[in-house]
Every structure is written in C-alpha cells, then in structure tokens.
Symmetry: C2
Subunit: 118 residues, 2 copies
Amino acid sequence: MPEFLYNDKLYYNPVEFAMDRIGGTWKMPILWRLRSRVMRYGELKKDLGRITHKMLSTQLKQLEAEGFIHREAYPVIPPKVEYSLTDRGRRAIEIIEGLRTYGLELMAEFGVGEEGRR
Amino acid sequence: MPEFLYNDKLYYNPVEFAMDRIGGTWKMPILWRLRSRVMRYGELKKDLGRITHKMLSTQLKQLEAEGFIHREAYPVIPPKVEYSLTDRGRRAIEIIEGLRTYGLELMAEFGVGEEGRR
DNA sequence: CTGGATCCGATTTGATACTG
DNA sequence: CAGTATCAAATCGGATCCAG
C-alpha cells in the first residue's frame, strides 16, 4: 500500500484522502445544496433539516479551510453570512453526481426506494 | 432532504447509502485489490499491510453479505479461502477508479505526493 | 443570526487472546 | 490458515450553554 501523511494523519490511498476532504455524513449534502446558488447559514441549516448546529458550523469551516467553499460575511447586525462554491467545490460536484447515480443504482438493486421512504 | 430506511438505519441521500456499502477505511482498498484477480485471505492481509485481522474479516464478511465479493472455501487442511469480485463488485471498481483519479487530483492541488511519502 | 466551547454518549477501530 | 471473541482506545456526533 502506498501511504503518505497529510496534517499528521496517515493515509493509505488517494480515495481515502478524497473522502477525508468531502466525505462524512454532511459535507457532500452541503456542497450539493450550494451547487446552484449562494446560501446563508440559516438557510442551509433549515434545508438540511436534521443537521445540528455544531456539525453545520464545523463542516462549513473545514470546507472553507480546504478551499471548497467561499465564506462572505457582511458587517451588519444581525450578522449575514453567505456561502458559495469555489472552483474546487464545483469540481467536487461532478464527483458527487457520480456517487449519487451509483447510490441510486445500488438502492434499486437492494430494493430500497419508494417503499422505504417516509 | 429525501430520507429512507435500510436495515433500521436512516439515510439522508443516495451518496450516503453508497458510502455505507463500500465506504469506510478498508472496503475500497479491499475491492481494489481484487479488481484483477482472485486472492486468498492471507494474501489480502499481507497486501493491505496495516489492516488488522479483525477489520479484514469483518469487512470481508460485510462485502460478501451485500454481494460485492464471492467467498470460495475449500474443505482442506489447513483451510484455503479465496475471494473474488462479483458483477456488483466489478461495477464498484468503476466508481473507485473515479474516486482515485479525483483523490490524486486533490493530492496534487494540496501538494501531497512524493514529498509526503515514506 | 452566526458561531465557538464543553460535556458526554455512541460508534468505530485496534490489540490481544483463543479455536477448528 | 482463516477466522471469532473480548476489551480498550480513539473518533464522531449531539445537546447545551455562551458570545459578538
């Protein structure tokens, strides 16, 4: 196995590296929401439904730190902050689309779909 | 968010469903190893290097249970067990290739590569 | 409204020992 | 050789409180 370090973490392969950037429960759903337009913090929060405050803020911070999204804060009271995709974020959308298609395929094969929805 | 249940777990989207099948630290590396040939348990273990005995056996069991790999056990002493990809597993390889390519892209952008290798 | 900090339970992973 | 079982460590996620 080729291995390498990044930020003191040991990775075994490129896939793992990519998944650490845009994987986890919430990063792709967040990026996906931003694919077509700029959104405010509260808007994302409402749209994502079950995400907690902590998760949304930490994930946004990481995505910004690694250049997938842009954070624009307006100096007004109350605060207004808008999030949008960067070029890197837009490239990620292509990957997410591939995974979505594959996920839908698998769901069909596993018989998960309308019956399972609530 | 569209949501649905599978095996008593709540999923938020198709990507998450796919990642639960072939995600995690080891499933893709295992599938990847099997892309070109049948391999024995000990061979996989050796090739994957840092994987523990426990992780390899549990991941193999799950991949088999969900139809990504085939397990062929020969009734000999000492035991001989061979693992190979199923059609579903071969389809997964296509996805993994896409993620690998993307991961390599990101690694280049982040300056991770030869310098970080050991 | 946006976001940081803390505490704590749940889940994941690793180390180690045991078995046919 | 190819597993299984148990326990401990590390990580992740959620609830809650505080702040500009």
